[in-house]
Amino acid sequence: MKPQKKLSRRQFISRVSVAPLFPLVVRASTLGLNGAVAPSERITFGAIGIGNRARDILQNFLAFKELQLVALSDCRADRLKSGKEMIDNYYGNTDSKTYPDFRDLLAQKEIDAVFIATGNRWHALASIYAARAGKDIYCEKPVTLYIKEGRTLVETCKRYGTIYQAGTQRRSTASYKFAMEMVRQGKIGKLHTVEMQVWTGAAIRHEKSAPIPAGWNYDMWLGQTPWLPFVPGRVHNWPYFFDTGDGMMTDMGCHYTDQMQWVLGTDDTGPVEFECSGVFPDPKKYMSDTMITGVGKCKYANGVTGIMYQRRGFVDRYIKYIGDEGWIQVDDETDQVKAYPESILSLRSATGVSWANASDHIKNLLDCIKNRKQTLCNPEVAHRVNTICLALTISARLGRKLKWDPVKEQFDDEDANRMLYREPRAPWKV
C-alpha cells in the first residue's frame, strides 16, 4: 500500500490554501515549543461582532493554544479598533486584521471558523453566510430572530457539513449536568413540571431620531431588520424591541429551554402547545414592545409542562425540575444547586466549571471541528430550543393559546404561521 503523507490538521479539515499570516521573526510558539501548538495545527478564527459579550467570552477562546484569532469584524469603527487592540495585546503583535464588512472576513480562505457575538438580529444570518463560505461556527444565543430562520440555519449547516456550536454553554457546566443526571436517574421521581425564570424586562421611553454617530455603519447594524431612523434608545436597548430582539423571555429564556429540552431528551422535537400572556410597556410612554413581565406555558406530548416566568430581578433567575418525589433547582446567578430530598446533593462531585466559564463548551466545538461530529449545541438543538421561546412570544402577541406540530413546525393558526417568518431587508438573504 502506498504510504500516505501525514497531513497537518489544517489540511485534514479541508482548507484549500494557506496564506502567510505570521511575522518573519519566528516566535518559539510558532515552532510549537513551550507546549504551544504550531500554527499549521491551529484552528484560525475570525470574530464577528466585538461588543461587550464578545469581550467576555473571547477570554475563554484565547486561552486555547490550538486556536488563533486572526481577524475581527464590526460595523462600529470604535469597537473594531478596541477589539484589535485587545487581540494584538494578547498575542504581542499587530497581526490581526479588521474588516468593517464581515463578508470580507468570510472571504479570507485562511480563516477556518468564526465566532459570532453580534446582536440577535445577526446571529442566524451571519451564521448562514459563514456556513455558505465554508466556515465552522460558534454563535451566541439566541440563535435566531424568527422560527423559520432557525430551520434555514439547520438546513444550511447540514448542507455544507458545517460544525456549529450555539453559545448555550450551560450544557457544558457542572451544576447543570448534575441536575440533568439526577433527573434522568429518577432521583426526583417522574418529572412533571419544569419551572424557569428570567428577569423583568425593561421599558424604553419614547425618543426622537438622532444623527447616526460617526464611525457607525448603521445600515449594516440594522442588517435584515426593517429600516428605521436611528434612535439611540432603540439601538442601545435593541433586545427589548421585536424587530431586533424579541425580549428577555427569548434572549435569556433560551438558556433554560435548552436545559429543559436536554433533560427531557427532546432535542429533535419540542412542545405541542404554547400559551403566554404578559404585561407590555405602556405605549403612551414607552417605545419598546416586548414583555416586561409574563408567564408562558408549554406542554409536551408526554404531559410535561414547562413554565417560563418573566419577573423579579436579574439575580433571581433559575430552573427547577419538579417530580412526584422531589425537585432539583439550579440558581443561575450563584450556580448553586438545591434539591429535595437534600440527600441528592451528596451525589455531586466537587469538580467542573460554572457557566461563566465557557471553556468546556468551546473545547467541545474545537474537538468537533477536528472530528466532524455534531457538537453539544448543534443547530437542530439550538433551533428547537429557540423555537420554544419564540412560540411563547407569538402566543403572547396574538393573545391566544396555540397548538404546535413539532414535526411540520407549524401552528394550528394561520396568522401565527405567518409570524414564523420575517422577510429580510435587502441585500440580505437567508
Binding site: 500500500m1 502506498k2 500516505q4 501525514k6 497531513l7 489540511q11 485534514f12 479539515i13 479541508s14 482548507r15 455558505r132 463560505a133 465554508g134 438546513e155 447540514k158 448542507r159 455544507y160 457539513g161 458545517t162 419614547h206 425618543e207 426622537k208 431620531s209 426593517p226 429600516w227 428605521l228 431612523p229 434612535v231 432603540r234 407590555f280 405605549p283 403612551k284 414607552y286 417605545m287 414592545d289 440527600s343 451528596s346 451525589l347 462531585s349 477536528k370 472530528n371 466532524r372 461530529k373 402577541r397 396574538l398 393573545g399 391566544r400 393558526d413 394561520e414 396568522d415 405567518r418 409570524m419 417568518y421 420575517r422 422577510e423 429580510p424 431587508r425 435587502a426 441585500p427 438573504k429
Partner: protein, 675 residues
Amino acid sequence: MESLKETEMKNIISYIATIVLIGTNAICANKQTVPVLPDNFNQIVQEADKYQSGDSMESLRQIEALISKCKNNPQLRNEMETALETILNSNSTVEAKKFACQQLAIIGPVSSLNTLGRLSSVEITSGFACMAIVNSPSAEATAVLCAAYPEANLTAKIQIINAIGNRRDASAIPFLKQQLSDGQIVGFVLTALGKIGTKTATETIFEFKKQCQPSYINPVDDSLLLCAEKALIEQRRLDASSIYKEIFNDSVPAHIKRAAFLGLVKTDNDGGAGRIEATLTSADATLKAVAISLIPTIKGANISSRFSKLMTSLQPSEQALLIDALARRGDKDAIKTIEQLVDSQNNEVKYAAITALGNIGNVKHVKILVKALTEATNPQELRIVEQAISSLKGGKTIDLAIVSELKNASSTGKTRIINVLGRRYAVIAVDAILAEAVSADTATSRAAFKVLARLSSEKNLPQLVDALIQVKSPEAKADAESAVAAIIEKTQDKQACENLICERLEKATDTETRVSLINLLPVCGGRKALEMAKSAYSSADSTIKEAGIRAISEWQDISVWETLINIYTNPPSESYRVLALRGLTRLLSEENIRPDANLVSKYQQLFNGAKNINDKKLILGAMSGCNHPEALYLALEKINEPEIKLEAVAAVKKIATAIQQRYPREAAEALQKIK
C-alpha cells in the same frame, strides 16, 4: 404619467372613500353582532398614519390588538386590510408604512397587493412591502412582484428577487431566467431559482452554468445544492444524484465538495457505505473525517465489521475517529477490533479505544480497562481510563468485577480502583474498600476513606470507626475522621452515633486515636458526648486537653454554654480563651434566629469577659445579626469606644435596618445617633 398633484388628489379621494366605506360597513352591520371596531377607529388610523419615533404608540398597539382578533373573522380582516392600505396610500410616515406592512404580513394581504407592489419598487419601502407580499395567500402575489420589478432601483430589485425566491413560486421561473443577464443581481436570481428548485429551475441553472463566467460558479453550485435538496424532498433521487455528481469535483471549494459528498451519500442505494469506504481508502484526506462521521448512522448489515477491516490502513488520527464512530454504532462487531487497540503504541488510538470500550464494553472488559488504569502513566491517560471505567454500563455486575481486581492490585492500582468505585457510586464495594482503609499504604488508605465518606451509610459506621482507630498515618486518620463525620451527619439516630463514639473512646488507649474520637464528639452531640469532651478538657495530658477544648468550642448546641463561658472567663491559657470565645460567638450567632433579651444578655456576658479589641470586634460581628432592640442598645454603647467604633456603627446600622418595621422609633433614634 400623472403629476404629483394628481397623485395626491387620488390618494385623498381614496382615503376619504375608505373612511366612508368603513363607516358604512359599520352601520350596515347586523345589530346582533358584537362590534369589533371601536368607535374611534378612524381616529386611531389617522394617528397611526402620522406615527414617527418619539410619538405615542397607542394607536399602533390598538391596531395590533385588532389584528390579533382577525382569526376566523373575515369581515374584520377585510376591514383591517383596507385600513392598513389606507395608511400605505396616504402621505403617511415611513415608520407608519413599516408598521402597516408588518400587520399585513400577519393577516396575509390580498386586496392590498397592488399597493404593496407599488411600494416594493421604492427602495425605502421595498423591504416592508415585500415582508407583507411574501406572506400573501394570493396566487397573484408573485405576479405583483414581477410587475413592480422594472420600476425598481438596484436595492429594490434585489428585495423583489429575494421575495420571489422566498415565495418558491415556479411560475416566476421565466421571469427569473430573464434576469440572469444582469450581472448585478445574478447571485440573487440564482438563489431564488435554487429555492424554487423544480426540474425547470434546475435546468435553467444548469443552462446558465454552461456559459457563465468562472466567478459565478460558486453561487451556481450553491443554488444547485438547493435544487438537489428539493429533489430529495420530492423523492427525485436520480435528479438529486446527478446534481451532486455534477458538483463533486476537486476544482470546487472544499465545503462545496463536502456538501456534494454528503448529498451523494444520501442518494446512494447502499446508504453511502460504498462511497464512504472508497473515501477511506483513497488519498483524499480532506473528506475522510467527514466520511467517518457518517459511519454511525449507515444502515445495513455488517457495517461495523466492514469498516473495522479498514482500521490498519488509516492514519492514527483517522483510526481514533473510526474507533469512536464504530463505538457510536453500539455494534458489538466492532468490539474485537477495538479491544486490540487498547494496547496501541499510539496514544491517540489507545485513548480512543479505551473511551470506546467505556461506552460499549461489558464485564469482560473490566480486566483490560483496570490494567490500563493501573498502568496509566500521565494525568490525561488516567483521566480517560477513569472516565471509561466509570461509564461502563452494567451496574453492580461491573462494580463487583472491579472490586475483584482490587485485591491483587499494586498500591497505586488500588488507589485508582478505589477512586473509580467512588465515581461509579459503587455502594456494593463498601466492604472491600473498608478492608483497604486500614492499608499500610497511606495513599490507599486515604483514597479509601475519601470514597467511604460518600458511599457509606450508617450501618457501616462501626467498621468505619474501627478503621479510624486502626490507621496509624496522621493524614489517613484525618481523612478517616472526615469520613466518619460525614456518615454521622447523614445518620438520623444521633444517639446511636454518640454511644458508639463514646464507647470506642472509653476503650481507646493511644493518644492519636483518642484525639480523633474526641474530635468527633461535637458531630454526634448529646449529653454523654459532652461529658466526655469535658473530661478530656480536664485531662492532664495537654494533647487530650486541647482536643477537649476544641471539641467543646465546636459544640453544635447551646447546652455547652456554661462550660464554655467558664473556660472563657477562667482560661488556663490565652489560646483556650480564644477558642472558647469563638465557640461562644458561633453558638450565639446561630441563636440569632430567636432574638430575645436573654440572648442579648449572653452577648453582654461576652463583652464583660472581653480582653481586647479583637474580642469585641468578634462579638460585635456575631451580635450584628441579632435583630432585637436590646442588641441595638448594646451596640450603641460601643460606639463610644474609639477602637471599635466602626464595627459598632456597622452593627447598629444592620440591626436598625432589620428591625425598623417592628421597632420604628428605636431604629430611627439609633440611626440618628450614628449619623
